[in-house]
Symmetry: C2
Subunit: 192 residues, 2 copies
């Protein structure tokens, strides 16, 4: 097990309905030393990639992306979630359907901060069905920018998001891939 | 002028209605090197304070707090904004009235991550009327924790939030206090 898998094993809580709670260190309370390790690991895995911008999505991706960005010396842009269609100024907009919340949201990024010269690393905390991630990829395509890679903290390997993204040929590096969880025993099985 | 005031002067855009746009470096695209300078400056100003936790609020406070936290070696907790009353589990809840958006929101923090032993530094990007900040202070009080200080990037000195907080005796360190702005000339006047 790597450092993140160990931490999930130690502090993650499995709940009914394939819910994995990691709010004590990842997405409510945030362990910045852990985030640094994650940044260092992504830098290793994307060592040969030419990355000049990091894109994430509010809210829980922001902290991870900001800490990780120090290893890439690149500014971070976070996409905003919006229910409204009245967006001021020139924005890239992607419609994102959330399976979890059974609703449609817009994901928006100002055109000022993403363009054809950008080589982008996407960073987020979770990948499950991949709806948010698809929205971010769509926005990068609208901008004429390049997706250099995708860094995810925890991928739910039993949901389709990661498979779809890999099938599409994107370079996806998930630091922990959960293949199964058992709410009764608390057991978490990681992909080798 | 300090480093943040200089950056606001250079890249901030004044809009009608006392709006200061700093989305190119602070709250949409984020300059992590600048955030480090801010963290270093807060560490200097709060050098004698005994801080073991940083509290911020989604979304634009998170990046600043996570980068700044490295200077305090403390975990970060971010308060979530919620319109819903159906919150799972044990949460501290504060009602926050937003003057800007003319609505009431809830600000919530899990009881697991804030308690009587915590000495908290609050960090946020903006202070105007101070509604969000009052909610965070209320949550810290509910937890029986101690507010050691408040670090704000940009305070709108012509709105009442900062004055109220200082009158209440809190130690508030705003890195840039804007006393006036002129949308026509673009002029920004900082408090000495």
């Amino acid at each position: 097990m790597n450092f993140l898998e160990e931490r999930i094993q130690k502090d993650g809580i499995v709940k009914e309905g394939n819910v994995l709670k990691v709010d004590s260190f990842l997405n409510h309370q945030m362990d910045i030393e852990l985030f640094k390790q994650m940044g260092e690991e992504w830098k290793k895995r994307f060592a040969d990639a030419n990355i000049n911008k990091i894109l994430t999505i509010e809210a829980s991706g922001i902290g991870i992306a900001c800490v990780a960005s120090d290893y890439f010396k690149a500014p971070v842009v976070f996409a905003k979630k919006s229910k409204s269609i009245n967006i001021e100024g020139d924005m890239y907009i992607a419609e994102v359907e959330s399976f979890t919340h059974k609703c449609k949201n817009q994901v928006i990024v100002s055109k000022k901060f993403l363009g054809p010269d950008d080589h982008v690393l996407i960073i987020d905390d979770f990948l499950a069905n991949g709806c948010a991630l698809q929205g971010l990829i769509s926005i990068i395509a609208q901008a004429g920018a390049t997706v250099e890679g995708i860094g995810i903290a925890i991928e739910k390997g039993f949901q389709s998001g990661g498979r779809v993204i890999r099938n599409l040929g994107y370079r996806l590096e998930s630091l922990a891939i959960v293949d199964s969880m058992d709410a009764e025993t608390g057991q978490i099985t990681f992909r080798q």
